[in-house]
Every structure is written in C-alpha cells, then in structure tokens.
C-alpha cells in the first residue's frame, strides 16, 4: 500500500470550526442592501384548475413591491431528461399537489408579505385526485401532468441473461411482494435563496443547493436566458441527501421578483412547507420472483417495480433505471428480468433520498434473500457470501466489478456482530439481520456528465481549490484539499477551500450517487498535476534539470536522484509571480469516458467505475408486548477502496445507516383522501433521534480501485442501501414475524405476532 502524507489521515475538516461555532453563513443568513422578502401563497388543494388569480388588493398594500404567478414565466418546460421536460417554474393552468406555490409576493418585510398573501384570491375548480400508483394506472384516471399524455411518467423493461434457463435450473422458486412508503428527505436546513440582479440584468442566485449546476441549467432554460446571464454561488448548505438538486418554485419566484423590482429578494421556507410540498422518496410496490439452487446459489430473478413519484418525472427515470440496474449487484445473478414503472400522482413531487432507489431495490433483494435462506435452511451469512460478487466480475447487464471486497466485508461483519454465537443462544426477543449493498461511485448517465476543479496558486505558496462537487456536510471540501496537498507535497493547511461559483468552476453534474470523491477527486488530482507541471518547469529551468525528474514533498521541489538539488515550493511560487509575471492555475477535469453511457432502452452497459460495497448487520430487540423495536448494535464492514479521511468515512457509513432507521421504523408522509398532508410538522412526522440509533461499529476492508483517486471509491450511500433489509431481517430473527410493508411499526408487529400465535395455536391443536 502506498505511503501518503495527507491522504488517509483524519485531518481537521475545513468547515469544522466554523460550523461547530455557529458562524457559518447559510442562504437564510445572507443579507443584501435594500433586500426585499419573498413569500409564497400555496395551494390548499392537491389537484385543481386555476380559474382566476386576483392580486389587486395585495399589489395595493403598502410595502408590497411585486407579485408573481406562473404566467410571468416564458412557459418553457424543463426536466431532467429531454424526453421528460414536464415542469414549469410555477403552475399556470392547474395545481398538481397540496402546497404547490401559486403566487409569490415581495415586500419590505415578512409581515407585510404575509399580509399580502391574505389579500390574494385564487379561484380553483377542484379536480379528482390521483394518490397512488394504482389510482394513476386505473382506466379513465384523470391526467396529473398537463404536459404529459399519460400518468406513466417513465418505464424500463430490461432482460439480462437467459431468464427461462435460470428459472429452469432453479431447485426452489419463491415470489414475494414488498412495499415502501413516502418519506421526506431529512436535511436540517429548509430551502432558502437570495437573488440579486445587476444593472446589466445578470442574475446572481445564492441558494441552498446540492447540485448547483443542475439548478443553474434548468433555471436558465425555463427563464429563457443564456447560462452566462446567470451566476450561481453556493453558500454553506445544511444537508442535501438528494433533496436539493433541482430548482423549485421559490427559486424561480425569487428570481422573477428580483427582476421585477430591481432589488435583492430573499425567500426562506419554514420546515412545514418543506414537509408538505417538496421532495420525498417515491412510494414503492415491488414483486420479486427468485430462483435458487438447493445450496442457496441464485439462478434467476424477476422483478417488477412501480414507483409513485408525484406530479413530475424529476429524477424519476434514474430511480426506475437504478432499481433495475442494481438487481445485478451485489450478488451474482446470471439472469434478470425487470419491469419498472414510474407513475405521476397528486402527492408532493419526488426526487429521492440518500442511496437513491437502490435503497428500495436492496431492501427487496436482501429481504428476499433472508426469506429464501430460511426456506432452504442455508445460513444467512453463508448465502450472502456464496452469492457475493468478486473481483473482475461482469454482471448480467454488463456492469464490470473491478475490485470487490464484499466477501471479506461479509465475513468481517458476521464475525464482529457475533452471528455464529447468536445461533447457539441469545436472549429472548433479540435477533440479528443482515443485508449487503453495492453503490456506484457516480454513474455515467449521459448528458452533461463530468467534474471540474480549478486550483489557484497564491504568491505566498498557498493554493485555493474551487470545484463543482458541492460541500453539503459530507466533507467534500476537506478531501479535495487533502488530495491537492498530497499531490503538491505541501501541508494540508496550505490548501484553502474557495467558493463554489459558476463564474469559475461549477461545471459538475451534481453531488449525488457517491460520485464526488471519485469524479471530483480525479479532477482534483488532474488539476494538481497540471499545477505541479508548471512549477516543475520553473524549478527545472533554474536547477538545470529535467522537470520530469523532480519530486514534490515537504514543501520542497527536488531531484529524485539527489535531494540536495532543490528549490522550496514558496520560492518556485514567487518565481512565477515576480519574475515571470505569471499567476499559476491548475486546471483539471474528469469524466469516466472509458465506460458506457447507459443505454436507457436495454439498461445494458458498464455504467460506472468504482462499485463500493458494504455488509451490514443489525442487532435488534423487539418488545413482544408493545411491538417496539430497539436497535442495539449496527456493524458495517465496507469496502470504499482507499479511505481518504477515515473518520469522515466512518461518519458517512454510520450516517447512512442511521438515516434509514427512520425509513425502516418511523417515518411516513401521510395524506388524507384529498391529498392534503396530515403530518407536516416535526412533531407528527417522526424522524429518528440519536437515541433511536444503535451503537455503530465500522470495519473497513481496504482495497485499491484502479480508477479511483488514490484507489478510493465513493461512500455514504451504500450503508443507506444495506440498512432497511438488515432491520427487517433482524426483526424476523428476533420474533419470527416478517413485515413487508414499510415502515415496520409496533402495531404491525403486534398484529403479526397475534396472527402467528393464533395460527400456531391451531396447528398445535
């Protein structure tokens, strides 16, 4: 293993102190001179025609500076894919979900803006609501999205391998259905933005965004302005988890209000608005049919999945695709048939949540594995180990696994949680459940997929990094500083994190899918090497040696063969500035151009490098009288390649798992029969607290990914994918009941226990 000076070390986070002391400035903290405050009037109905909007009284109210509706925008739809442009900035002819922003107001203060909202009269004509996938696909169902001709927003049908042969070869076949509820994303900071328009009409958006490039492009399209007419700067972001990729009604409305008034406008949401009207995870109904050999080896899998995703396609096409693609890993399944559908509905628009819908796919797959292992009498660890993908494995869909530490992860996890010992004896009501998962280090999905990094060498020898891979709390800024320092042979403290700004380096397809460490990491290395080459040329000329023979270490540039021939890093930096009059920049970009762009029709292709792996075991206790589940211990063994920052890596692994405890046990976005949100507050929507999460233990399996920066892979989402089934399987192991519709509530457990007691009473006579 290579020896590193900065990489692999638990350096202090670049944003640690500023966040811990409360001095970091988030979008809601920003203030601009002469700033106005924006507020949105939201739809009280989930589905209705907008007949008329009368804002005369609001406009007349003292202190109100502008009122905006959907009609103030050019009417150009936008969307994630060219074939799914089904969104408008604000509704024009009808509202699609409860809480959709219908009218926006800018006023001199928040109280006036709120008062103005009260004076606006919107006439609606109620339409029948579509709440579920079943509703959406029913014959004669009302159309949800006026820009689409169908309630099916997207679909995928894949066939990998010989499915008939696979099932023919199976000794045992089992079919099961699973379902999963709507959950919210769960970041701390509600959506907020500040917009300023300069005298030339150029728009500056500072918002809480996780993939600013995505926001930027979608907004420019729908506002009908060239991308150069808009600048986007990211302030500190209070968490994203896939809930902040795209632009929302507040971003569009705030831009329009600023354009109309010529004054800065800030809009900040309350969290009840976020819970009611912004991104959630898709509701899922899935059916799996699995064929296996007697020994537990999987021979075939047929999966049907229907996701219900609200009134927009959004990133739904990726969700549907991912669900099918990630039946191919982490287990060796030679034949897979997949049918996926995404339906529209009149619930809040979905994006996804940490781990994307691989979370749901893996929940189904590993729950199924738990069931069939029991049926076949194969050990739970053994069945996973036997089917786990290994090095240089080509999956049925063409996905190539270069390096897999998964078999070792499974061994380590089983051992550390005490699986074998638990089979001989364990306290009543206790059990252990397992799940594995794999997650790509950023797939290549077509379109604008790439990452870029810019380094500026300062004349004092320090380096400023700017990149497009947004820091949303996961630690991206820190690790790019580490990588820069490692390549240039300078201390971590000599690398400064710059601002994420579209005028310099925001080209980046977004912060999702475990891609930033990998993609932006490789771009960082490329940028640092570019800068290093320029410095080597300066030093080489003066030292009269070839630049290629120079090494950078301990802030010195020296000859590999003879370290006495040297120049310090600072001197080289000064030579550039003072003698050559040349500021130095390092420019780097990276995209996995050597792999396949996903074939959306067949689902085939080697879509990603750097598959990261995880095996998670969760020890649970179930109170048979109350049905209450207590998670006692969570052990994850992960293969994230070379850890760049081991402490943050632990945090990512544990965080991903903790995040999903809510999805497994507590969280559920509830709607009434008219599509109105029932539990839109933190009191009624139950996210887990620290006390709801178990003691976590992380074991790392070090591997070296051939394409990853320093051999690293992504991390942070795999553990979200492996946690739902681990909990469900653990509950089954503890009390022998399997709840296949999430969340697993105490009531469902009690009912199942009662049912079980009744049945066993019968059979026992």
């Amino acid at each position: 293993m290579a020896e590193y000076s900065v990489v692999g070390k638990p350096v202090e986070r670049t944003d640690g102190r500023i966040k811990a002391t409360g001095s970091a400035k988030y979008a809601a903290d920003l203030i601009a001179p002469g700033m106005l405050y924006g507020k949105l009037l939201r739809s009280p109905l989930a589905h209705a025609k907008i007949l008329n909007i009368d804002a005369t009284k609001a406009k007349a109210l003292k202190g109100v500076k502008a009122v905006v509706t959907g009609k103030d925008f050019p009417g150009i739809p936008y969307g994630t894919r060219p074939d799914t442009r089904d969104q408008l900035p604000m509704p024009v002819t009808k509202v699609h979900h409860f809480g959709e922003g219908v009218v926006a107001v800018a006023a001199v203060d928040e109280d006036t803006a709120e008062e103005a909202l009260d004076l606006i009269k919107v006439d609606y004509q109620e339409l029948p609501v579509v709440l579920t996938a079943e509703d959406a696909m029913a014959p004669g169902a009302p159309l949800v999205n006026e820009l689409s001709k169908s309630n099916i927003a997207y679909f995928s049908d894949f066939l990998f391998g010989d499915i008939e042969k696979g099932f023919k070869e199976a000794d045992y076949i089992r079919e099961e259905t699973f379902s999963s509820q709507r959950v919210t994303v769960g970041f701390i900071e509600p959506h907020a933005c500040l917009v300023e328009v300069d005298p030339t009409g150029r728009v500056l958006l500072q918002a809480s965004k996780q993939s600013p490039y995505v926001t930027w492009r979608h907004m420019c399209r729908a506002l009908d302005i060239p991308v150069s007419k808009m600048r986007i700067i990211n302030p500190f972001v209070g968490g994203g988890f896939s809930g902040k990729h795209d632009p929302f009604d507040i971003d569009f409305a705030t831009v329009k209000l600023a354009q109309m008034t010529g004054r800065p406008v800030k809009t900040v949401l309350n969290y009840d608005e976020v819970l009611a009207a912004y991104r959630q995870r898709n509701a899922m109904n899935a059916k799996l049919k699995m064929g296996l050999k007697k020994n537990g080896q999987i021979t075939a899998l047929r999966t049907e999945c229907v996701l219900e995703g609200g009134p927009i396609a959004g990133i739904g096409p990726f969700n549907i695709y991912y669900f099918g693609a990630f039946q191919n890993v982490p287990y060796k399944i030679p034949a897979i048939e997949y049918h996926g559908k995404l339906t529209y509905s009149n619930r809040a628009p979905c994006g996804t949540v940490r781990g994307q819908e691989i979370v749901l796919a893996q929940y189904c797959l590993d729950s199924m594995l738990g069931i069939v292992a029991e049926d076949l009498g194969v050990d739970q660890v053994e069945i996973r180990h036997m089917n786990a993908v290994t090095n240089n494995w080509k999956a049925a869909n063409g996905l190539i696994v270069d390096v897999s530490g998964l078999p070792e992860c499974i061994e380590k996890c089983g051992k550390r949680i005490g699986w074998k010992e638990s089979r001989t004896s364990r306290p009543k009501g206790r059990g252990i459940g397992f799940s594995c998962a794999s997650h790509p280090s950023g797939v290549r999905l077509g379109g604008h997929f790439g990452s870029s990094v810019m380094l500026k060498l300062m004349e004092d020898g320090n380096v400023v990094v700017t990149h497009g891979g947004t820091e949303i709390g996961q630690g991206a800024n820190t690790i790019f500083c580490q990588m820069t320092a490692e390549v240039l042979g300078i201390p971590f403290e000599s690398v400064i994190q710059g601002v994420s700004d579209s005028d310099t380096t925001i080209f980046d397809s977004g912060m999702f899918g475990d891609r930033c460490t990998y993609w932006d990491g490789n771009a960082t290395i490329a940028a640092a090497k570019d800068l290093k080459r320029q410095l080597a040329e300066i030093a080489g000329a003066e030292l009269k040696v070839s630049p290629d023979d120079l090494e950078f270490k301990n802030s010195m540039i020296f000859l590999k063969e003879n370290p006495e021939v040297k120049m310090d890093f600072l001197t080289a930096s000064r030579r550039a500035y003072y003698e050559k009059g040349s500021p130095l920049y390092g420019r780097g970009y990276w995209a996995a151009t050597d792999i396949d762009i996903v074939d959306w029709k067949t689902g085939r292709g080697n879509l990603a490098h750097g598959l990261d792996f995880i095996a998670t075991g969760i020890k649970v206790d179930v109170d048979r009288e109350t049905g209450k589940v207590t998670l006692l211990q969570g052990v994850s063994a992960d293969d994230a390649g070379q850890p760049i920052h081991p402490v943050m890596l632990d945090g990512q692994v544990n965080g991903g798992s903790a995040h999903m405890t809510g999805h497994a046990l507590l969280e559920d976005c509830l709607y009434d029969e008219k599509g109105r949100v029932l539990n839109g507050s933190w009191r009624d929507y139950k996210q887990p607290t620290a006390l709801d999460t178990p003691e976590y233990i992380v074991e790392h399996v070090h591997t070296h990914d051939p394409y990853g920066p320093f051999g690293a892979k992504g991390a942070g989402e795999a553990s979200s994918c492996s946690s739902l089934a681990a909990i469900a399987n653990g509950i089954y192991d503890a009390v022998g009941v399997r709840i296949k519709d999430l969340p697993i509530t105490p009531e469902k457990i009690l009912a199942a226990l009662k049912e079980k007691a009744k049945n066993s009473g019968k059979t026992g006579g």
Partner: protein
C-alpha cells in the same frame, strides 16, 4: 394551513400576582397568560388562538422555586421548568414519578422553557406531568379574584386543551403531599421514538403498602393520552387494593384499566393499540412502583 409569523398582540409583564389578576380582569377572554410559551406561541403561529393581550408571568418570584416541608410535602411553583424539575435532587428523591415524566419529555431546549404550570394549564390529553401528579394525589393552588383556592390536579381538566382554571385565575403552584412510608409511584410513557415525542399512552401508578410490607393499602392509577383528559382507573385500583400485588394480579389490573380508556385513532396510533398498551403499561407501572418501594426498604 402553514405556520405563520406571530400575529400582533400587546405584551404585559406585571411583577406581582395581583398585577396579573388585574390584567386578566381588564382584558377577559382577550388575554392569555404566557409562561414558557412552548404551546401558546406555536398555537398563535398556527392561528389556532389569537389573543390580543399576552400577560407574561415570568417576572413573578412567587411563582418560582421548589421546596420541601417535612409535614406538608413538596411545593412546586407554577413557573418551575421541566429542566429544573429534572435537575432537582429533591424531585428525584421525593417525587420520582414526576421525574420520570420530565426526563422523557421534549428536547433540552424546550424543557428549559416549558413550565409545569403551562403543561397542566394547556391541558393536552398527553400532558406528561399530569398522570404522576394525579397518582401522587397532588393539588393545584389557584389564585383568582376571590382569593386562593385549591383543586386536586385530577379535577383540573375539562377536555382536550381545556382546563378548569378560569380565565380570571392563575395557577400559582402545585403541592404534592408528603408521601407515606412504604409508598412510591412510577410513570411510564410509550412513544414512537426514543425521545422528543408525545405519549401514545402514559401510565402512572402509585402504590402504598401496609405495615406488613406486602398488602396493598392504597393504589392510584392515572392514564394519559387515552381519553379527552387524564383519567384515573378506579376499577383497576379496586382490584389491587387490599391484596398482595403479584405480576399476575398486576396483569389483571392492566386488563381492567384497558377497558376504562376511551382513546382515539389518530396519526400516532390506533384506538385498539392504545387500549392494548394501557394494559401493558399499567402492569409495568404498578410493578415498577412496587419495585421502588422494595428497593427502598432493602436499602
């Protein structure tokens, strides 16, 4: 529909109980007392209530402090916060069931603001301090235009979010009578998550044993979150009274308690589940109270 900014109101901050009573008389139904504000301000932001006058009582010294008198027992000022109760060794020793309640309530931030008086006067069916206070036979001391009067905490509630404290009155403090020897109470709360949650069911049980240290001399069981107000479970109490409490008897008492509750099905739990849980928690609370007595006597 969504949370709004606070509506406009006039803010008063009298320095004495007399001052409070004067303002309450002057403004009548247009005034509300504000202590911690953790319930009231949220209700105002939701426009569930829009009082024109808020009477702040936080500056009144007479409403603060916890004290213990060997004869009379505990006196808790209405302004005592949940955090103060939780941190008080006196409460932990003399009224452990109340400590049980504040320990599992809300977040540290909210506990620092929320007061025991507010928790009672807000009168939500799931108010955590009510069942233990009822089980311990606590009394509320009210001050009104006609002077001071005393009401058992058990009688303090009229309906959901409606107390019997008149608009012209103020709750000044709570008295918990000196608990007899060989007696103790415990409060158990069932929540969806492990912290910062409302009670699905809350059960407090007070048990007092005879001199033989076995026979149950007196017992009080109070249930929270399963009826429009906190309630007693008299049939269950009757079943235990005069008998030696065993796990089986406690279970039977639980079953009886499960029949007196009249919960609702809401977002948090169904009616059936709540009744089932009253059974479980009643048994556990009775046994917990008993275990505390036994712990003390063996010490």
């Amino acid at each position: 529909m969504f949370i709004r900014r606070l509506p406009k109101f006039e803010y008063h901050s009298p320095a004495s109980i007399a001052g409070v009573l004067g303002l309450l008389k002057k403004y009548g139904n247009k005034a509300r007392i504000i202590a911690g504000g953790t319930d009231l301000l949220l209700a105002m932001k939701k426009r569930a209530v829009t009082p024109e006058h808020l009477v702040n009582v936080k500056n009144i010294k007479a409403l603060k402090g916890i004290s213990y008198d060997a004869k009379k027992g505990l006196k808790i000022g209405a302004l005592v916060t949940c955090a103060e109760l939780e941190e008080s060794p006196l409460i932990k020793e003399k009224a452990p069931a109340l400590w049980d309640a504040v320990y599992v309530m809300a977040s540290p931030q909210v506990k620092t603001l929320a007061t025991i008086g507010g928790n009672l006067c807000s009168a939500v069916p799931s108010a955590d301090t009510a069942p233990p206070l009822i089980a311990m036979g606590a009394e509320a001391v009210l001050s009104g235009p006609k002077g001071e009067h005393i009401m058992a905490v058990e009688k303090l509630f009229k309906g959901p979010a409606e107390s019997k404290v008149a608009r012209s009155e103020i709750l000044t403090h709570i008295r918990i009578p000196k608990q007899p020897e060989r007696s103790c109470a415990a409060y158990l709360k069932l929540m969806r998550r492990a912290a910062m949650d409302l009670a699905l069911v809350g059960v407090a049980a007070y048990v007092c044993l005879d001199a033989d240290n076995k026979t149950c001399k007196e017992v009080r069981i109070a249930l929270g979150a399963v009826a429009p107000t906190p309630i007693r479970a008299p049939m269950a109490e009757k079943l235990l009274s005069g008998k030696e409490i065993s796990a089986a008897l406690a279970e039977e008492a639980g079953k009886v308690a499960g029949t007196v509750c009249s919960p609702i099905t809401d977002l948090r739990a169904s009616l059936g589940y709540r009744c089932d849980m009253v059974e479980v928690l009643t048994r556990r609370a009775v046994m917990a109270a008993l275990a505390r007595i036994n712990n003390r006597t063996t010490k």
